[in-house]
């Protein structure tokens, strides 16, 4: 199964590079399927250390499914459905954030306003 493959790769990575690795796997309906290592206390300890990091530190080397697939474009019919879904969500989310950014900008003074980089989009009017 793919789960076992992923857990096996996590084991190899932790052993070869002498590092700590943990994997948390939830199913579609939100049930916790399995963790690696099996001992949840180790996973919990590492998760707590991760949570205590500052937000900036956490963001540094973080990646997610959409960012990962950017570098590895998989042209496949099943994946293309996910791609369309992701694209729609991106467009709506981007629109919401742009509106919010426009609302926040008038609060800045003139000097900082001039330093804001221009975003190439027809909706922005300076």
């Amino acid at each position: 199964m793919r789960e076992d493959t992923m857990f096996k790769k996590a084991l190899e990575l932790s052993t070869l590079c002498d590092i700590e690795v943990c994997v948390i796997l939830y199913s579609r309906d939100g049930e916790l399927i399995k963790t690696w290592p099996e001992d949840q206390s180790k996973v919990r300890d590492m998760a707590e250390r991760f949570s205590k990091l500052h937000e900036r530190e956490r963001r540094k080397k973080r990646t997610n499914l959409s960012l990962f697939l950017r570098k590895k474009i998989l042209d496949n019919s099943k994946l293309s459905e996910k791609v369309l879904e992701m694209k729609d969500s991106l467009e709506s989310g981007l629109r919401v954030l742009q509106d919010k950014l426009l609302l926040l900008q008038p609060e800045k003074n003139q000097t900082e306003l001039g330093q804001i980089p221009v975003i190439n989009n027809g909706q922005n009017h300076w």
């Binding site: 590092i19 948390i24 919990r44």
Partner: protein, 266 residues
């Protein structure tokens, strides 16, 4: 037989640089397997790894879907992850008034949106390229129409079989058909394919009618038994073409057809 892949022992790599290289490569492999699992079974996964360097201030490497923070927070609280689908739908992001964070998120989202649009362009370009190959596709459909056209008699159906040059042309066209079959697995839109077939059928009706001149009729000089065998193979090819799932059978028929053509040369 081919060479056997070398398997290394799963133990700590002593040298610093090879260990770092191995970490980088295997981490990507692990992320790849996790991404497959996320897409195929819609699971939510978080992977956290400590850095190779002993610097305690270094940041964790992490991969997550829908997001690492979401899955980790759910795990620590012994709860189910939230229903949010993507990281940019996070409530804290929507409520945040930090301009820097908002701009960073917007830049990332814009980049992803551009990449997705390029991906769709690539797929459309591939489909267009396949549609604009009239020669090979016309050959297959034309044979199909010829066999079913009532106005043709047996003598006219054997026009292009006896001449060696025509045989060579047919072989070339079949090669192009085979190339098309290798690419057909990339066609996503069945409706586009159906419309494409309809258009070509209309065009080929004209083509078939124009072939009924006297000059070509004089070429019908050949052995009837060989011609009948060749026509039989063509019928099999046409049947295979209607059902794309039988590509393997089509290749077998193509090989038989090639052998028949070689025999005709003798």
């Amino acid at each position: 037989m081919g060479g056997v892949k070398r398997k290394i022992a799963i133990e700590k790599i002593q040298n610093k640089n090879p260990r770092a290289v191995s970490f980088s490569k295997r981490r990507k492999g692990l992320y790849s397997k996790a991404s497959e699992l996320c897409l195929l079974s819609d699971a939510e996964i978080a992977i956290i790894a400590t850095p190779v360097s002993s610097n305690s201030n270094a940041a964790f490497y992490s991969f997550g879907h829908s997001s690492v923070d979401n899955v980790v927070a759910a795990f620590l609280a012994n709860q189910r992850p939230c229903d949010e689908r993507f990281w940019w739908e996070d409530e804290s992001l929507l409520k945040s008034e930090n301009l820097e964070e908002l701009r960073e998120a917007m830049d990332s989202m814009s980049t992803m949106l551009r990449d997705l649009k390029e991906l769709e362009k690539q797929r459309d370009h591939q489909t267009q390229t396949l549609i604009h190959q009239p020669c090979s596709a016309r050959v297959c459909i034309q044979d199909y129409v010829t066999v079913n056209f009532d106005g043709f008699n047996t003598e006219e159906q054997t026009l292009a079989v006896s001449d060696n040059s025509n045989n060579n042309g047919l072989l070339g066209n079949l090669d192009e058909c085979n190339e098309d079959f290798d690419d057909l697995d990339q066609i996503f839109d069945t409706v586009t394919n159906s419309e494409f077939l309809s258009v070509n059928l209309e065009m080929d009706d004209v083509t078939v009618n124009s072939e009924g001149n006297t000059e070509e009729q004089t070429l019908a000089v050949s052995d009837n038994s060989n011609n009948n065998g060749l026509l039989g193979n063509l019928d099999e090819c046409n049947e295979d073409f209607d059902d794309l799932d039988q590509i393997i059978e089509y290749l077998t028929s193509s090989e038989a057809l090639s052998m028949n053509l070689k025999m005709d040369d003798v």
